[in-house]
């Protein structure tokens, strides 16, 4: 099954930005040129003036709905009420892209507001495949699943993350959202090799994400934190160039959620992302 990309065509050199509350009025007023706008589903489910603004932007921008709360890795299955609200938003907004993460956030009816890690086992794979298929049936379309930023691993894991993602895509038909910053963060934190993610099935990849990360020293140990609070690091730009070289271009989002900069800075970062992999530009990045 070919993942749906709507107005965003795989291979197009487009990059987009997140639509965040402090920039909303400026974007509505100025309608700056950018490849697409991304929203977090959970910020637009309660109804608000922001949702009305989003509807007014639909005619000028392709949209990407990025969910953070579906909890695709929950062994207890999905929160049906929440899924219904996300499905209603997808129907209302008709985004080009829909995605969530390879992680879990809920157990026993409590929601932890974090992208929590899964052990990569056959048991987990069966759970995530079942949940992804259920979301896709509820939405009537494929979704893309993003590689998470990891701070720990489980001794019981028997499958590498890239293998897990590849098998998830093969069994569920979902697309893959490759977050290049998350690869760098996970590889650093767990002592893995970033190039292992270059073995993913390229035809399943529908989007890329880029973001800045922070480095924390915990008891003398340097840990990278995926805080979306700064410019994309040089190392991540280099890895992104390799990713584009390997898989080709995809719609690319620059994520910036904390210490939000002025809108032009964010647009400039997205423009740089769009230039990577262009003829004569690939090596310059």
């Amino acid at each position: 099954m070919q993942p749906v990309a709507g107005q965003l065509i795989v291979g197009q050199p487009v990059a987009g930005i997140g639509l965040r509350a402090p920039h909303l009025a400026e974007i509505v007023r100025e309608r700056p040129a950018t490849g697409f706008l991304e929203i977090h589903a959970e910020n637009y489910l309660a109804g608000s003036p922001a949702l009305q603004a989003l509807e007014s932007l639909r005619s000028d921008y392709a949209l990407s709905i990025h969910a953070v709360g579906l909890s695709l890795g929950s062994v207890e299955g999905l929160d049906e009420a929440h899924l219904a609200r996300v499905a209603a938003l997808v129907k209302r907004v008709e985004p080009a892209l829909v995605s969530d993460h390879l992680s879990w956030s809920s157990v026993d009816g409590r929601y932890f507001n974090d992208l929590l890690p899964l052990p990569y086992t056959e048991e987990s794979l069966a759970v995530v495949v079942r949940n992804v298929q259920h979301v896709q049936e509820a939405l009537g379309r494929t979704i893309s699943v993003e590689n998470p930023s990891c701070y720990l691993a489980f001794a019981q894991s028997t499958i590498s993350e890239p293998e897990f993602l590849a098998e998830l895509s093969r069994r569920s038909g979902c697309g893959l959202l490759l977050d290049v910053n998350n690869i760098a963060v996970t590889a650093h934190n767990l002592g893995l090799v970033a190039n292992d993610w270059l073995d993913l099935p390229g035809e399943a990849i529908t989007q890329y994400h880029l973001a800045g990360h922070a480095a924390n020293d915990a008891d003398g140990e340097r840990i990278l934190i995926d805080d979306h609070g700064s410019r994309v690091s040089d190392g991540v730009w280099s890895l992104f160039a390799e990713v584009v070289e390997r898989f080709g271009r995809r719609p690319t989002l620059v994520e910036w959620d904390t210490d939000l900069p002025a809108l032009p800075v964010l647009l400039e970062e997205a423009a740089r992302a769009a230039s990577v992999g262009g003829r004569g530009a690939a090596r310059a990045a």
Binding site: E42, N43, L45, A46, G47, S48, P49, Q52, V68, G69, S71, S74, V75, E76, D79, A81, H82, R85, W104, S105, S106, V107, D108, G109, R110, Y111, F112, N113, D114, L116, L118, P119, T121, E123, S124, V127, Y151, L152, A153, F154, A155, Q156, N189, L190, G191, A218, D219, I223, I225
Partner: protein
């Protein structure tokens, strides 16, 4: 024997809620200390969500104290779904029962006002009655009319001058002390097209609005006001504020 996924997720949840889990810790690589990153993130991000929903409470007690208050609340009241704008309904009651309310007896009312403003901001726009909608209703039928309050409209009463406390807590407000003994208020919280605000009502107007919300006819709702209550003036005021809607 590795933990089954259900047991692992339950143990992880217990760890996040503050209860260390040796069986989980034994599974974690490179070391159990990494679990602390998630515990910290859960508490910190939920405290930030509460600060966004209860900005006036935070302004009154200060950011550092608010973090501690929020963390104490979160441990016993984790979200039950992922929409964080809907998280914190129990926070005003928690504040009312917390030691902080002994020194700041109005703080729980501040929390109730913040929560009502949050609900109003996220309420559906909905159809609101305007004067023209009532032009076809014969004057003698108006007293028997039953209406509703528009989505997001709420009444917040307090024995303290809550409106002045709220204004004094806004960024850039002059640091004039508020006289807590200056009397209580009846505030009506409402959604406007781009924001949520409150206005002060008289006791009679507040009783009238509460009667409408309870499904009473305008005449019966007016009976909730004090003697000499001016029904037509109160009705015109609520209509003008855009807080009246047809019964659904």
């Amino acid at each position: 024997m590795p933990l089954a996924l259900r047991d692992l997720q339950r143990a992880f949840a217990a760890h996040l809620a503050g209860d260390d889990q040796p069986a989980l810790a034994a599974e974690v690589r490179p070391g159990a200390a990494r679990l602390g990153i998630h515990r910290h993130h859960v508490l910190d991000s939920l405290a930030s969500a509460l600060a966004a929903t209860f900005p006036t409470v935070q302004a009154v007690v200060g950011a550092d104290y608010f973090r501690g208050l929020a963390r104490a609340f979160i441990g016993g009241s984790l979200p039950v779904q992922p929409v964080l704008a809907e998280y914190g309904a129990d926070f005003p009651a928690f504040v009312a029962g917390h030691d902080v309310s002994r020194g700041l007896p109005y703080l729980a009312d501040v929390a109730r006002l913040d929560w009502a403003l949050n609900l109003a901001f996220h309420a559906p726009a909905g159809d609101r009655l305007v004067a023209a909608d009532l032009a076809t209703v014969p004057a003698d039928r108006l007293p028997a009319l039953r209406l509703a309050l528009a989505p997001g409209t709420a009444l917040v009463g307090s024995p303290y001058p809550l409106d002045r406390i709220w204004r004094a807590s806004q960024p850039g407000a002059p640091a004039d002390p508020v006289d807590l003994a200056s009397g209580g208020v009846h505030l009506l919280v409402l959604r406007r097209p781009d924001d949520a605000v409150f206005v002060a009502l008289s006791a009679g107007e507040a009783a009238f609005a509460r009667g409408i919300a309870e499904g009473l006819s305008l005449e019966d709702a007016a009976g909730r006001g004090a003697s000499g209550f001016d029904l037509s003036a109160a009705f015109a005021r609520l209509l003008g504020l855009g807080v009246l809607a047809a019964v659904q």
